[in-house]
Amino acid sequence: MSAARFLLAGLFLISSASAQIAPVAPSEAPADAPSGIYKSVVRIEVASQVPDYSTPWNAGRFGGGIGTGFIIGKNRILTNAHVISNGRRILVNIYGSPQKYAAKVEFVAHDCDLAILSVEDFTNFEKLPVFTFGDVPQLETQVRVIGYPIGGDRLSVTRGVVSRIDFSAYSHSRADSHLVVQIDAAINPGNSGGPVVQDGKVVGVAFQGLRQADNTGYIIPTPVIKRFLKDVEDGHYDSYAELGLGDFPLFNPAMRKALKLPDDNTGVLITNVTPTGSCDGVIKPGDILMSIDGKQVDSAGMVTIDGEDVDMHEIIERKFAGNKVALTILRDGASKDFEITLKPLSWSRMYAIQYEMKPRYIMFAGLVFQPLDTNLFAASKFDDVTLRRLYGDYVPKGIFQKRPDIVVLTRVESDPLTSQLGNFAGYAVDKINGVEVKDLKHANELLHPKEKPEFFAIELFGAERPLVIPSSEVESATKRVQQAYDIEQLSNLED
């Protein structure tokens, strides 16, 4: 469990508005490439509203884009989460028909970039073929990518071979890594959510590309898709479960000697156990993880599944919250077996971009408070060392236990009361009137007590002095700022 993991800047997502170039009429498809399935590849048109974390009371930016989806069952259309995220109106087109069908999101999984849509009226879709899923395609085998990328309005098909199978970053959430398959077919904006087909079966969903490299498209392989479909069987998406362990490879002979390990390239050292995580209270830092579910962990943290060396987390990837996992560790020279019940670690969403959320905030006498998250971090420029450390340590050090929210003074709106406070924006709040702030709601309670104190003294981490607001002036200042800056709501305490 490392702190905020940001992706290669070069990864891009591939949904986009279509370009203005006249389409070329498609020629007859070769015999080995059945075109019957084209009709089940739909074009998805999304109007979206992206919230504005730097001005949290504003409506945000209205926009839209095009993506692809495909029918996988009765009134079930699979696409990417990023195609429909923050969507306000979703319309679906069947290949070769101008009619637009209103759709809605049934399930969305931002951590693996998948979503299931349904249309209001499925009647016209009933006769269309339904896609079935295959396995992870072999290296160097050929695949077809079907979708509605930029460059034209009509369906596009490209071909490529499987170049690499890897455990890699999913750029939509900026915080997750899962199995990916890299192919060399052209994947372009608009391809997102489209099926990647081999032998008539779907072997992946096209979802991202790499900006600084040619012919590198990434697809979400079927183990990830199947896991998502299984997860939502109970009617809602529970997301991935996590072990909540940090590890260090055990290559070094001296280190192995000190740990009294044989020279056989096995085991990794546990360096961090996330508080409240699946392994908290069971596994300790200093333990050596030897195997997961009976599969031996090598000194680089890899296990062998189906003859392939993969990251040991891949075992956990295929499980669900509530599932058990068997860990074998070495502690003080003795081998111990533990059965761990997996749970999701919701706190780690601190490091993921959030979608469909209304930014939370409080405006109090011209001071704007917001909880720290990656959306806010991306929208602001935070320089303060303490704030940046609180962010990085939030999960690994278990800061969330004491402070579920890191409340930040993000803005100081000019007003006679606050005109001297402009320099204090960008600091995290420690205490309000001597009480440590736990989360945004708590801050709101402390700022609106039953008995008004003479002053509100707000202590910020790393600031040279406390901020002081006389109670008697709060109401008038709040009113002035509300009018001057056109702030309809003084606070939003719920996502």
Partner: protein
């Protein structure tokens, strides 16, 4: 690092103009900007020398070696028998200093008598007294001027390549308590407006008032035509302090302050409208203020008989509003007792503070380390260094946001470490060797223990490595539950190889 930043040293004027043929005859036309008689100016040559300085700083990532050397020149006033005054910057990391007569005919190795990097002043003398006496024969030291007043005209003295003095008149625009070299070191400084021309390049220039030395020009902003000139008062105090060895330096209170303009904040502090006051936001450990019992949260109302206003200024009899720190650093000496008027919890309080000098070398993370070779240990390929601000600055111009967070934290919040360490010792990098297999990606980790011993500084690290256990050395890091090991036999072999491959020594511990 430092020397590659040209902004700081805007005075490095180029010297590429060809010598003007007729200008060499001094009886020609006097320059319009300098109304002084030409004879007078020629005489000034006897009161200044050039200084050539060769500088070499240490390589921040490979502390056993130095960066490529650089050169600087300065024009410096002779201020006493065989004594020359220049900026501290000129001698910072100097490996060779040399006097040069203004006509370029004679050279002489020089040495530093006293240097104050905070005040940016240095006093130099000849390395060899006998040769020095000969070199300085016939020179006339400059006397210190009566401090000029705002609006007075002062003359900036340059000497052209051909040896001719050049005087540029400027006016003393304002007097301010600012820094012209190191961050956060504020001293009384004249702001002189003058339009200077390119002459022989120079990092310091004498500034004259009625023919006497009134200041030392330390930086020139060509765009605004404004110069920072070290004040006469500071020169006088520095020259006085330089007479005693060891050099005592200027005192400080050891506090950080915040303004109290905000009316709500004033009400909360119970400050009345006729009061000024600075909020004391931090009291440095071991400083004069802490010793005297000043607390964070006290309000500083007066220093001696001077009331401090809400922005930190007090009225100076001749210079107008000056920043409070001048009352400590500029007007008092180490050991002086000063009475401070404070407000604590709304009640007035008087405290006497015995002023001390904050010794930079005693800080957890020193902010400058000129002329000091960095401490380090290389063990089996692991490179350990002591954290200093110059090391952090090596992360580039944006170092405050780019340097590793844990190291910046130690710089900004030393109180987290001060109880258990005198220096932050950290693993700065790993050379890939047979002993460091699997450790290649470790860096910027603060060392907590080695072989079970707490690490207080580089010396304790070197000693801890001497007592290996079972042929293994263990290294524990701060903030990480990670202990890495080095095999003594492999490490010794690797260390021998590193020496063979040109690392001159595997440690420097002072």
């Amino acid at each position: 690092m430092k020397y590659s930043a040209p902004v700081l040293f805007a005075l490095a004027l180029t010297a590429c103009e060809p010598p003007k043929q007729e200008a060499a005859t001094p009886s020609a036309v006097p320059a319009a900007s300098a109304p002084k008689p030409v004879e007078d100016r020629s005489a000034l040559k006897q009161s200044v020398v050039r200084i050539n300085s060769t500088l070499q700083s240490w390589n921040p990532s490979q502390p056993w070696e130095k960066n490529p050397p650089g050169q600087r020149r300065a024009l410096a006033p002779i201020v006493g028998k065989n004594q020359v005054l220049t900026t501290g910057e000129l001698v910072a990391d100097a490996t060779y200093l040399e006097f040069e007569s203004t006509d370029g005919t004679r050279m002489l190795p020089a040495k530093v008598i006293a240097v104050d990097f905070e005040a940016n002043l240095a006093l130099l003398g000849p390395a060899d007294d006998e040769k020095g006496a000969k070199f300085f024969e016939g020179t006339v030291p400059l006397e210190l001027a009566v401090p000029p007043r705002i609006g007075d005209t002062v003359d900036i003295l340059q000497v052209e390549e051909n040896g001719m003095p050049l005087l540029t008149a400027g006016s003393l625009q304002s007097v301010d308590v600012i820094t012209n070299f190191l961050e956060g070191q504020f001293f009384l400084t004249f702001e002189v407006k003058a339009s200077m021309q390119s002459a022989a390049s120079s990092f310091s220039l004498p500034v004259l008032h009625h023919g006497k030395l009134a200041g030392l020009l330390a930086s020139y902003n060509a765009k605004d035509q404004l110069s920072d000139v070290t004040s006469t008062e500071l020169l006088a105090r520095f020259l006085q302090a330089a007479k005693t060895t060891p050099y005592a330096g200027f005192p400080s209170l050891g506090i950080n302050t915040a303004r109290t303009e905000d009316p709500s904040f004033r009400k909360w502090l119970k400050l009345t409208d006729d009061q000024g006051g600075l909020y004391i936001s931090n009291v440095r450990k071991g400083g004069a203020a802490e010793t005297a019992g000043i607390h964070k949260g006290d309000v500083l109302l007066s220093i001696g008989e001077h009331a401090i206003d809400r922005r930190g200024y007090y009225p100076h009899p001749t210079y107008g509003s000056l920043f409070w720190s001048h009352l400590v650093r500029g007007e008092r000496s180490t050991g002086d007792v000063v009475s401070l008027g404070l407000l604590r919890d709304g009640k007035p309080l008087k405290l006497d503070v015995t002023l001390t000098r904050s010794d930079e070398s005693k800080k957890l993370v020193p902010s400058y380390t000129f002329n000091q070779a960095p401490n380090y240990v290389v063990k089996g390929g692991l490179i350990f260094q002591e954290l200093t601000q110059p090391l952090l600055e090596a992360f580039g111009e944006e170092w405050r946001s780019r340097a590793p967070l844990n190291l910046i934290d130690a710089l900004e919040n030393p109180e987290k470490y001060e109880a258990r360490a005198d220096r932050i010792v950290f693993l700065s990098a790993v050379i890939a060797t047979p002993a460091t297999i699997g450790y290649e990606r470790l860096r910027n980790l603060v060392v907590k223990k080695v072989n079970g011993q707490e690490i207080r500084d580089m010396k304790s690290l070197a000693e801890a490595f001497k007592k290996g256990t079972d042929g293994l050395h263990s290294i524990e890091f701060e903030d990480e539950n990670l202990t890495v090991q080095l095999d003594e036999a492999t490490t010794s072999a690797v260390d021998k190889q590193l020496l063979q491959r040109g690392i001159p020594r595997l440690s420097r511990v002072k």
